[in-house]
Symmetry: C2
Subunit: 343 residues, 2 copies
């Protein structure tokens, strides 16, 4: 790799100090009263030698990398892919670059990733965490490390965070299903079951059903391990089907679960929604075009990204994590399509 021209090359060839050159590069020359002529000489030489400041060295000196981290469970999940794209845009527009990590819901991996990113001296972190309590992040807050939790939340957390009205969304789903006249319900969830979004969605759903005096029996509370969603759901659905134990309606708790459910129900020749109705949390474009089209609770991914980046930038610019907890909860909406209509 051709050797790069550095600040001292241009300083030497001009017979001035590196500091002087640095000043004109950073537009601080005027403020320091460097003569216009010296400045011009420097600038000319910079052009002549095609000097490009080494951002990395600058970062090292200044302690700021203009890089942020984004950690989610799986970047290829539509929901997170959209968020990643939005955050990347905000970052780019503000001179930041983003490092992305997927945890696969593995807490140890997540912690390693955070540690690595901090070692790499990222300026801040946006994360949808797989951990089950706020301890780690509260420590991060105390250490003054800029970060914001998205999507999932913890009790007693001090970190800035932006999430969505999971409880309310689940209630919308339940109310809709009840109104349609369904009377038996299953929930398809994800484990590990400490994940706040999942917990809140379950609670919102069961609470609402409870008010209508409807209970969900344990066999219809289906929780699938993250890394075997598809296969496990296949088994569970098959065995329920064999025993003639399928519920009238199923509430799936994220877009992967919804897709998987759709797939296996179809495979079993179960008609949706005639035999079993389906509504999912988290809407994605394809649900409009599946057969049948799928009802879902829509999340405002663009707002999540926007608020998260804003909160992060505030912390970075304040030089530390903000003392006051900043919590943003965004509304969701229900999109009713064919899959949840009673026939």
């Amino acid at each position: 790799m051709a050797k790069r021209v550095s600040i001292s090359d241009i300083a030497e060839s001009l017979g001035v100090s590196k500091a002087l050159v640095s000043l004109v590069i950073n537009d601080k020359a005027d403020a320091h009263g460097i003569s216009a002529e010296t400045q011009k000489r420097v600038r000319d030489k910079i052009r002549e030698l095609n000097y490009q400041p080494d951002l990395f060295a600058r970062s090292f000196r200044v302690g700021k990398t203009n890089t942020i981290g984004l950690i989610v469970s799986d970047i290829s999940n539509r929901f997170y892919a959209r968020i990643a794209r939005d955050i990347e845009d905000h970052a780019w527009n503000n001179g930041y670059t983003v490092i992305i990590c997927s945890t696969d819901e593995n807490v140890e991996k997540e912690m390693k990733q955070i540690k690595l990113l901090r070692d790499r001296k990222i300026d801040g972190l946006i994360i949808s965490s797989s951990q089950d309590n706020s301890d780690y992040f509260n420590k991060l807050s105390e250490a003054g490390f800029p970060h914001v939790l998205i999507d999932r939340r913890f009790d007693d957390m001090q970190s800035a965070n932006v999430s969505v009205d999971n409880y309310g969304g689940a209630r919308l789903a339940a109310e809709h299903l009840l109104k349609q006249g369904f009377s038996s319900f299953a929930v398809v969830a994800l484990s590990p079951d400490h994940i706040s979004t999942i917990r809140e969605r379950i609670k919102g759903f069961t609470d609402t059903l409870g008010k209508a005096n409807v209970q969900i029996p344990p066999c219809w509370l289906i929780s699938l391990p993250f890394d075997r969603i598809d296969k496990e759901l296949d088994n569970r659905l098959q065995s329920l089907h064999r025993q003639g134990q399928l519920p009238e309606a199923i509430f799936t708790l994220n877009n992967n679960l919804t897709s998987s459910c759709l797939k296996h129900l179809t495979k079993l020749s179960v008609n949706i929604p005639e035999d079993v109705a389906v509504i999912g949390f988290d809407d994605i474009m394809y649900f409009e075009h599946t057969h049948p089209s799928v009802s879902a609770i829509g999340q405002p991914t663009d707002r999540i990204s926007e608020e998260a980046f804003k909160l992060l930038l505030q912390q970075i610019n304040n030089g530390k994590a903000d003392g006051r907890q900043r919590s943003v909860v965004l509304p969701v909406d229900i999109i009713i399509r064919e899959s949840s209509i009673k026939h």
Copy 2:
């Protein structure tokens, strides 16, 4: 932020030199004949003071960041999201971290991103480029900067690259459609039209039709600007429909185009495949569950990622871009579903 303990803290508190500490940290102590006891003392002190080496400072010194860049047109596109996820995994397993950038097919933005990433001293780059020739990358090769082009290719390029048999995939699509007995065809493509994947897919399709003496009239060669796919396709399809000019079959050139086509055809109450058949390049999971299910050419995203990362790592470890051009072309397959079956 609590001040971090540095290498000199532990050197001082032990009354040894920083160099010594550095040696034991990097497992070079034995090779240098540092006594086992001294090593132990150092290690104990490291644990006692909870010293964590500053990776960033090390990177600065050593000139290696263990970070690679991944640049694609849009990370929220399923195809690239999958690739990103796979590459991230390979990277993680090899101690690398990945910075992701989306170009929106904007060449200037892409060049700025490459420049920024190089300034940030990434060790290498994997890119699906939006540029229209190999000049920029050949310069990168000459400069010895490790990089591999994926997905899209250029004539006369020296860079390592991994792509897919676009021509052959398109031929499969054409042959299948012909065999079904369709006789008029449209192609839905993407502009800018210098994109190699698009060009090759068009050529593979038209060549194959040509051999059967079938031509595609200009009005059925639909090319949509990247940022207005959906709206433009809506217009074009509407006007063709109004004039009763829809073809019997449509070949869509990527998964976004396929989805959009599906959507607007459905909106116009055009029956698929009875009125118009559809087959797309690039398969995604949902095509199995849409109404109708969609035929597609499947690309081996996992292999693309694997080969790309392997080629990149080779270059990084060789200290420079490999002299010999390394080209990998992966096979594709055709998945025939309902949307392309003649009735």
